[in-house]
Subunit: 219 residues, 2 copies
DNA sequence: AAAAAATTGGGGGTATCCCCCCATATACGA
DNA sequence: TCGTATATGGGGGGATACCCCCAATTTTTT
């Protein structure tokens, strides 16, 4: 038996979902919530396998709810539902733990499929949503490239130093690891600050991560 | 007329692609390269609209080639081709400027479609590849969550301070903006270091970005 | 071959960060 | 209601980062 909680402030829509699911023997709608806080409350005293979560909840947004749920109720999987096929909504809630994203015009067959898929631990996305995400990934790339049309080329040694900075090593430690002088590392740091147009270490790290300057290795 | 450059170290495969494209009047295969450096050389003296790039090139990898091409030859669009539907390959080359990714078992119809799509400035991915990416996004999420099972809750004020740190403000500047004492901000910094298990500002910023702690606003 | 960039290193100084100790008041949760 | 977390603030000090000046050598690019 799969316990499902519906979180949507549109009563009519919540009813619709519930009536669709009602006919399925293996599924039980254990509750309905109209806002974020009541979802959290409900989960504290009930077992829920799948949370059908509207992204655009009033008050506490769906994103925050999702974050909270995946952090504190690990046995509950979130399947996001939204009226909008907006790239920002999709990526945002996926980055906060949702296992799937479907649109409100989804038919009953696809709804069941999505629920089963998410329930089995896999992720599910409507085809339209998938398209949107792929486009979004590209847009994000080109947009970030436009904002900083050409950031100066970072040399091999500077890249090394930057990588070690991101690993929280101090200048002295970096010097030791690279077998060069403290002063040399300071030179590289200084050049990095100038090239990346950063004021301090924080900016160095942020810009490096935003522009994917340091290939991350597995550790 | 669309100029296409094929970069693949497997001669037989490059021949196959070329022979498929030869029959299309609007397409002209202007060259074939067997390794990365020769691609760069070729682009320096030729106009190429689309680069069909094998991800797994010997010597200079396809990822590096792609990075170089999108950085320095902005009029050339990269369509990645690979034998492997590997999530790491796909995301890596997409993050380095490729506009599309297709597999080597792609048929001629889909090949033309991919070329046209990329040529028009949109991105193209085989269905299989799309599935792989979506799964990968999820995996990446759950994996990163496992590595740091539960990082302590960051309070509202700490989040504010952390956000300003990432914007490269100094402790004194943060104190001024929040109308609190320098010492208070230092307390928050100190608590953040302890909670996030970081050694210094670099770690603070890296961990914040890795865990998506600071909602980025548009500027 | 000449110019530019990268790599190396130093002196000296200030700003900032990070650390230890401490305290008070408020708010939140068990 | 009683602890824990949060937010506030202070003294003092050592470590680190950042800044200015500078220069020699090597590598890369033009």
């Amino acid at each position: 038996m799969t316990n499902i909680l519906i979180a949507d402030d549109h009563a009519m829509f919540a009813d619709g979902i519930a009536s669709i699911l009602k006919n399925e023997d293996s599924i039980k709608v254990v509750g309905r919530c109209l806002d974020g806080p009541s979802v959290i409350d409900f989960l504290k005293s009930n077992t829920v396998d799948i949370l059908l979560l509207d992204v655009n909840l009033p008050g506490m947004s769906g994103i925050d709810v999702c974050k909270e749920v995946t952090a504190n109720f690990k046995s509950t999987k979130v399947l996001a539902i939204s009226m909008f096929n907006e790239e920002s909504f999709v990526t945002e809630i996926l980055n906060n733990g949702a296992m799937g994203y479907i649109l409100k015009n989804t038919g009953r067959e696809e709804l069941f499929l999505a629920i089963d898929t998410v329930l089995s631990g896999k992720s599910y996305f409507s085809d339209d949503v998938t398209q949107t995400i792929m486009k979004g990934l590209m847009k994000q790339r080109t947009a970030s490239k436009k904002s900083q049309p050409e950031l100066p080329k970072i040399s091999r040694r500077e890249t090394e130093v930057l990588g070690l900075i991101m690993k929280e090593f101090t200048t002295q430690e970096i010097a030791d690891q690279l077998f060069i002088s403290l002063k040399t590392v300071e030179s590289h740091r200084s050049n990095l600050l100038a090239k990346l147009n950063a004021r301090n270490t924080a900016g160095l790290v942020r810009i490096a991560m935003e522009n994917n300057l340091i290939p991350k290795e597995e550790g």
